[in-house]
């Protein structure tokens, strides 16, 4: 080593100098080792926090499809016109320099004027008053960038044929806090504007289109209740990185399928890191973690039937009608259509709903899913349950029961329960089971319930249909209905209460979806099914090879403990209700399809037992020979009518659509063969 040449020599001073130099270099070496090797991570993270901004990038939301793959909800590109502030740095600086020069010259002129006035040169502290302060310079900068941005915005607005203005405070806030992100000046351009913009602004002017995925429901209000709606929400979900500097707009499902399958539909948001310089301008960007697209949800819904059911409800009762329709496959429990009216357009929510529209929804209680989320007295359609209970307990369907005439109204029948007289809508006379069923004789069924079945058996059959329990179709949007249990009838229960239950009034309340399950069980030979709305959840891109999650169909919840004979008698009576000329449900009949049904009209009373309106029902299935479709129609009304006149025609339209669809399918199959 060359130092030792010196140290060997007898020169203590030089040796000391050499030692000091060695020590000094050693200190530097140790310091560098400490900073660059030991603490490197710490400084790297310092660098990252000051130079990187992370941005949450929402994943593409999954689509919602009907059973045939038709789109109910999807995403469409939305083009926003945005300012890219990093491209405007040079114009900002240039404008600032110009303003600065002007301001400085102004001050110098003022200073010169002051000197002339005082006839002496100013002292240093006096001159200082004419200098521009830091705050003034900052203000000049803000002014410069605002004028540059505003000119650009005005210019673009002129070219687009839409006057645009730049909000000063919003712009300044975006500049201060979101410099690394595009600043939107005009959201949601229409195709004409996009074309005009693309034609005229091709170079990097600082204004550009910025692409966003927007949720759209191509059929508008169709199936709105079951699809649900979204809310703008860019917060991190569980399992996602929670620490972002910026977040791009995202949605969260609130109710319906959008709400229930939100996790699957949403996918996983990704993260992008934007490298910024010391002024906060964007330098480059880098995807850290690509977003994982959400999965598609395929429903059991048949869009044709859904549309037909909605259209028919509106055609017969108007757009604001309060009602519900459920169409179900009696063998699989698949919900083919689920309508609740009045309805809303979920597109309004995705775009941010206006106050007017929100008020309208509130006024009409339109957001309520009436097919699942409201209790209704079933009225006469509950006679199916009473019929099964009585037939199972020795009611001879051929046996004649005589209905007395009502002394106040001799054209109608009546029955005494204890000392209370219950009026009937059917005429007096002799009734066997079928005749009583198709005329919907209250007297006959009250008698059958009281004399043959007994309240315990009526309740047993009702329990077997799982009345008073949720069907599990929608997590937080379903009511269980009301159904008395064993305990209830032990205490303070009278024959009058039984009589009320036998005609679907009093302490029994159901939902249309429960009635669809009930009719399906009668139709399919006694299987009480779990209704099914979601068929499968599958990847958006089939090429990924990811497996779909399938939800099994035809899950049996309960097998009715009744004889096949009883069901047959009931089904024949339901067929007669639609097809015999005396039936109440004849308005539903369709040529070429044997429909079985039961009408119902329930009175709605307020707290003081005053009649406030009616629930009209028609619960049905078809075809008689080979049951396939259950159709339940319910309409709330304050006016008079009956299930047969109000609901049966709506069901008629739906069955016609079913028949047309079946015929078309058959023709297609034949043509293919």
């Amino acid at each position: 080593m060359l130092i030792f040449d010196e140290l060997k020599k007898n020169d203590p001073q030089l040796r000391l100098v050499a030692t000091v130099v060695v020590a000094g270099l050693g200190i530097l070496l140790a310091g560098l080792w400490w900073v660059q090797v030991v603490s490197a991570h710490e400084y790297q993270s310092h660098l990252e926090t000051q130079a990187y901004r992370t941005v949450r990038i929402p994943a593409i939301r999954g689509k919602i499809l009907d059973r045939e793959g038709r789109v109910l909800a999807e995403n469409r590109p939305r083009f926003n016109l945005s300012l890219y502030l990093d491209d405007l740095r040079k114009p900002f600086d240039a404008a600032y320099n110009q303003l600065y020069r002007q301001a400085r010259e102004g001050r110098q002129r003022a200073l010169a004027a002051q000197e002339i006035k005082l006839n002496r040169s100013l002292t240093k502290p006096e001159r200082k008053a004419f200098a521009l302060t830091t705050a003034e310079l900052q203000q000049l900068r803000a002014q410069a960038r605002w004028s540059v941005a505003n000119n650009l915005v005005t210019q673009v607005g002129q070219q687009l044929g839409q006057p645009l203005a730049l909000d000063t405070t919003k712009f300044e806030r975006a500049y201060q806090t979101r410099l690394a992100l595009p600043f939107t000046i005009l959201p949601n351009l229409d195709p004409g504007q996009i074309a005009r913009f693309e034609e005229r602004f091709t170079n990097g002017l600082g204004a550009n289109l910025d692409l966003q995925a927007a949720r759209v429901y191509p059929s508008g209000a169709t199936a709105a209740h079951l699809l649900g709606y979204l809310r703008n929400d860019d917060s991190s979900q569980e399992g996602e990185d929670a620490d972002f500097n910026y977040r791009l707009p995202d949605y969260r499902g609130v109710v319906g399928v959008e709400g229930r399958c939100d996790t699957e539909l949403r996918g996983h948001a990704g993260a992008e890191s934007v490298l910024v310089n010391n002024l906060g301008y964007r330098q480059s960007e880098n995807i850290l973690d690509p977003p994982e697209p959400g999965r598609n949800v395929v429903l059991t819904i048949d869009l044709d039937l859904q549309r037909a059911a909605e259209a028919s409800l509106i055609r017969h009762r108007g757009a604001d009608v309060r009602g519900a329709v459920v169409v179900m496959d009696v063998n699989s429990g698949d919900v083919l259509a689920l309508v609740s009216s009045p309805t809303f357009d979920p597109n309004d929510f995705a775009q941010g709903i206006s106050q007017d529209k929100w008020q309208r929804i509130q006024d009409l209680t339109a957001e309520k899913n009436r097919a699942t989320y409201e209790n209704y007295a079933p009225g006469s359609i509950f006679k199916t349950v009473v019929a099964l209970a009585a037939l199972e307990n020795g009611l001879n369907p051929a046996e004649i029961y005589h209905v007395e005439a009502n002394p106040e109204n001799p054209a109608k029948g009546m029955i005494y329960v204890g000392r209370r007289r219950i009026k009937d809508t059917a005429p007096p006379g002799d009734y066997n089971f079928k005749k009583a069923f198709i005329h919907s004789s209250n007297s006959y069924f009250i008698n059958a319930g009281l004399e043959h079945a007994g309240v315990e058996n009526v309740l047993r059959i009702g329990k077997e249909f799982h009345l008073g329990e949720r069907t599990g179709l929608f997590a937080r949007q379903e009511t269980s209905g009301d159904f008395p249990d064993e305990e209830r009838i032990q205490a303070n229960w009278s024959d009058g209460d039984t009589a009320n239950v036998c005609i679907g009034q009093g302490e029994v309340a159901v939902t249309p979806i429960q009635m669809a399950v009930m009719v399906s069980a009668i139709a399919n030979g006694g299987k009480v099914l779990w209704p099914r709305l979601i068929d499968r959840i599958e990847p958006q891109d089939p090429a990924t090879g990811e497996a779909a999650t399938n939800f099994p169909s035809g899950r049996v919840r309960n097998e009715l403990d009744v004889h096949a004979r009883s069901l047959k008698i009931l089904r024949d009576a339901m067929l007669a209700d639609v097809n015999s000329s005396e039936g109440t449900g004849t308005a539903a009949a369709v040529n070429g399809l044997h429909i079985c049904g039961k009408t119902g009209t329930a009175q709605v009373q307020d707290a003081s037992n005053k009649l406030t309106g009616y629930n009209f029902w028609f619960a049905s299935y078809a075809p008689y020979e080979n049951p396939k479709y259950a159709v339940v129609v319910m309409v709330e009304s304050t006016g008079s009518g009956s299930g047969g006149t109000v609901c049966a025609p709506i069901a008629h339209d739906i069955y016609e659509t079913i028949l047309k669809k079946q015929n078309a399918a058959t023709t297609k199959t034949l043509a293919r063969n």
Binding site: L2, I3, D5, E6, K9, D11, Q13, L14, L16, V17, A18, V21, G24, L25, I27, L28, L29, G31, L32, W33, W34, V35, Q36, V37, S39, A40, E42, Y43, Q44, H46, L47, Q50, A51, L275, V276, N277, N278, L279, Q283
Partner: protein, 403 residues
């Protein structure tokens, strides 16, 4: 010793030192380029207008000057040393006069404008001081025992020190002290004088520091604001006084954050370089402008090297300086006479002080003082003076066996 009659009049320069210098100049060019090309406006200049190209020109001029100096025996040069010394003293006085000295907008008057370029007389003062000091101290050791001679030597050092301090340029002034003191020590000035001096200086320094850190405003000695702030930043002391209002405190905090900006950014640059660095021209700190663009190629060039080449690069730079310094010490040891030895020791100490202070401030071992890193930092005066100083040292080496 070879017999005198070998009479080798012409020696050769020290090849090891020359090689180390060549590598340093190469590194200097590369990283001045890296530090300046990050700036979009500078990067667009034609290659012959680039700052790194100018740095190469300064290297060439410096090498020319150094070679020129080597042609004349250092004894001859030493005879003119007092002329040079007083000439630079005049320049240092001139630079303080407002219409001659230029501030370049930095607040300190350090430059003299000479048409197309400016020069910094303080840099040349260091050279002249080394030569004059060596000449003065090379008298017989007995004379150095005299008090008068000792004080004259101190005066020789304090005159340029005071003038440079007045500019103000604390860093350049400070490096004169170790240079002068080490030269006096090596020359053979009695140790007791130096120790006493050191004791007095130490007490004064401690008092000064205590004043800066703890004294209430009324008791503070007069000092440039930025100097006080740099010291406060270095010692991590709070800018705000203990009894300050909340508003004053927040203002003080903001100021402190702002003032510690350079140090913090330099540390982040050096630290984030890690073991192997990010690669040439890939340093984020420079590219993103966090490292102040005006200082990156200048006083903070080491941060750029350390960020882009990591600990490995830092060690290489340190090793190259070590080679230069130790070959310098060897030249001092082999010098023909005390004059040569003192010149070499002076140059070694000057270089070492620059290296230690500059690298030290990049890693917060010493407070920030605007002092260039020899041969690596961009700057005409600095490059020229470093190369001339090294030329002087080589001169001592070449002429080590005269007569």
């Amino acid at each position: 010793m070879t017999p005198c009659f070998a009479k080798e009049r012409e020696g050769r320069p020290d090849p090891i030192q020359l090689a180390a210098l060549a590598v340093l100049m190469f590194i200097g060019t590369m990283f001045v380029c890296s530090a300046t090309m990050a700036n979009a406006t500078t990067a667009l200049l034609p290659w012959y207008d680039q700052i790194w190209m100018r740095q190469i020109i300064w290297y060439a001029l410096g090498l020319g000057a150094a070679a020129g100096i080597c042609l004349t025996d250092y004894h001859t040069l030493a005879r003119w040393s007092f002329v040079a010394y007083w000439a630079t003293i005049l320049c240092l006085i001139a630079v303080l006069i407002p219409h001659i000295g230029s501030t370049h907008g930095w607040g300190a008057r350090r430059w003299i404008d000479l048409g197309p370029f400016q020069f910094q007389p303080s840099e040349f003062a260091k050279l002249a001081f080394i030569l004059a000091g060596a000449n003065f101290l090379s008298r017989p050791p007995d004379e150095l025992q005299q008090r008068a001679i000792f004080w004259k030597g101190i005066g020789l050092m304090l005159l340029p020190f005071g003038l440079i301090l007045k500019e103000p340029d604390l860093g350049s002034a400070l490096v004169l002290l170790p240079t002068g003191l080490v030269m006096m020590f090596v020359a053979g000035t009695p140790l007791k004088y130096l120790l006493r001096l050191a004791a007095v200086a130490g007490i004064l320094g401690t008092l000064l520091l205590a004043d800066v850190l703890f004294a209430p405003p009324g008791w503070r000695i007069k000092m440039q604001d930025y100097q006080r702030q740099r010291l406060l930043v270095y010692f991590g002391a709070n800018f705000a006084a203990g009894n300050a209002t909340a508003k004053e405190k927040s203002e003080a905090r903001r100021l402190q954050f702002e003032k510690s900006y350079q140090v913090r950014q330099a540390l982040i640059s050096v630290g984030s370089g890690g073991l192997l660095g990010k690669g040439w021209r890939k340093g984020d700190q420079t590219a993103l402008g966090f490292l102040p663009p005006g200082a990156a190629h200048n006083d903070f060039i080491f941060s750029v090297i350390a960020e882009e080449e990591g600990f490995a690069g830092s060690v290489l730079v340190l090793a190259l300086y070590a080679v230069v310094l130790f070959t310098g010490l060897r030249i001092a040891g082999q010098a023909r006479d005390r004059l040569g030895k003192l010149v070499a020791v002076g140059v070694v100490t000057l270089l070492f002080s620059h290296v230690f202070i500059n690298i030290g401030m990049n890693i917060r071992i010493v407070p920030v003082t605007g002092i260039p890193l020899p041969l690596l930092s961009y700057g005409g005066s600095s490059v020229l003076c470093s190369l001339i100083a090294l030329g002087l040292m080589q001169n001592v080496h070449i002429h080590r066996r005269g007569y």
